[in-house]
Amino acid sequence: MKPSVKQISPLIYEFEWDSKVSDQLLQHQLSLKANLQKDFGSAIIELRMGFKTLAVVLSKPLEATLLEDWVKSLNLKKSLKALPEKIWQIPVCYSKETGRDLEALAKHKNISQEELISLHSQPLYRLHFYGFLPGFMYLNGLKEELHTARKSVPDLTVPVGSVAIGGSQTGIYPSSSPGGWHLLGQTPISLFDSKLSIPVFAIAGERIEFTPITIQEFEHLTKHPQKPISR
């Protein structure tokens, strides 16, 4: 499972894997990331991840084939580490008050709202990386029955904390923004705090679990914010 490496600009390189998005691929990505940090740490300005990619921005140009040779010589199997065990519990109020598309999506899928909620809140979702908005988690693990094409006309405002489905993805809007996903509910948990040196609570490889709460609990947690808990 060796990635190919492409130079994108004098200082940007990208590793790409030709395999399906999976826990195993994520393990390889995280292992390559750790190796890059170990071997090129001082020359790395920034690392960015995608579902099948890992990109690195360097502070100075490297010799043409250096990274290619480096990745070839790596013994990735040896450095492969198990993914973290931590599971974060995100309370979600699934209701038409907090998820304007819940009713329509259930109807569209020809299931009850309860079935929709249970299909969405049963699985554990794997956090692969952050993108789209500060603190937005790219999660893998949405059940195929729930895959839904994005709205053809995006909503101008999606409320902060909205839990939504778009294509084969599910996610939480960490801030209010325009968006084309179908809104099922809302979490009262804050996902991003720019005042903290690490502004997010979960790291790549950890898992997320959505736990249904009532509208009363949602209102209570909105007034008395709590930090997310893990198990």
């Binding site: 600009s9 960015r48 579902f51 990386f129 993108g131 720019s194």
Partner: protein, 290 residues
């Protein structure tokens, strides 16, 4: 040096006025965009003339109609667009250093050339630094765009700071260039030869859809690429949408995207593009050898 705080007051502004520096580097792993001055060449230039740090914060102005007042003495430096500027009612040049005294009024009028004007200030604007940058961005800083009544802090001195009245000329010519240097992006290789030839030979038009996040080009390409697994993007990444449109990502762009990334523009190219006005034409010069 005794540093007292002075304030620049916004009396009137069009849309798109903000504080920017070199940007927020190292936080993309949390989904935080780079941000920073769209035209980093002009940012570096004003800070250089003011003998500031090269990353000190400046005021970025994207529309005519700005009126600002300084409550204490300082030096400012202008660069970027060629615009009609008045200091206390008198016409001044839109490039180079100007002395500011207490209560001076600066007005930015019609943009004759270019589309972004920068006002640098001695020691830089002193807005709060969050995640190692003062650049304004929604969800990170309290302010996103300047509005009437805002007061922006800077350091002042009772006496005017010393400066060399150097006659360094700001050359507007570089931003007139319509050739944008670009490197092949990760998905360049997926394009067919005909589309590659078109991209390298066609003229593209800057559309009205131009902001701090992205610039959309007007022309449609006959060949499009399907959406792909979400992958990293940068300021300067050119995306080809599934509808055949080209989108050039700018400084406030998301850190990841799902469209094919066919080109990556250099920092210099981003500065040139940022200064283009809608309806202006550009060409890409694709550099195959890095």
């Amino acid at each position: 040096m005794i540093k007292d705080i002075g304030y620049l007051k916004i009396l009137k502004t069009g849309p798109g006025t903000s504080i920017q520096d070199k940007g927020r580097v190292g936080f993309a792993q949390y989904g935080v965009p780079t941000s920073g001055a769209l035209d980093s060449r002009s940012l570096t230039w004003v800070n250089h003339l003011l003998q500031n740090n090269h990353s000190d914060a400046v005021l970025e102005i994207c529309q005519p109609g700005l009126q600002i007042q300084f409550d204490s003495p300082t030096l400012i430096c202008l660069a970027g667009a060629k615009a009609a500027i008045k200091l206390n009612g008198g016409v001044i040049s839109s490039d180079g250093i100007h002395e500011i005294r207490e209560s001076d009024l600066l007005e930015i009028g019609y943009f004759e050339q270019g589309s972004i004007l920068y006002v640098g200030i001695k020691n830089g604007f002193q807005c709060e630094k969050i995640m190692k940058s003062r650049s304004w961005y929604a969800g990170i800083t309290a302010e996103v765009f300047a509005k009437k009544g805002d007061q922006i802090p800077y350091f002042t001195k009772q006496d005017l700071p010393n400066y060399t009245a150097s006659k360094a000329r700001w050359d507007f010519k570089w931003s007139q260039n319509n050739i944008i240097e670009a490197y092949p992006g990760p998905e360049w290789g997926l394009l067919n030869q005909n589309t590659k030839d078109l991209i390298e030979s066609m003229q593209f038009t800057i559309s009205e859809l131009k902001n701090r996040m992205a610039i959309q080009l007007s022309e449609l390409l006959p060949n499009s690429l399907p959406e792909m697994a979400t992958a990293p993007v940068y300021p300067g990444t050119v995306q080809l949408t599934s509808g055949g449109k080209l989108i050039v990502l700018m400084k406030d762009a998301q850190v990841t995207g799902g469209y094919a990334r066919i080109l990556q523009i250099s920092e210099e190219g981003i500065s040139i593009l940022a200064q283009k006005q809608p309806r202006q034409l550009i060409r890409f010069l694709v550099k195959k050898n890095l």
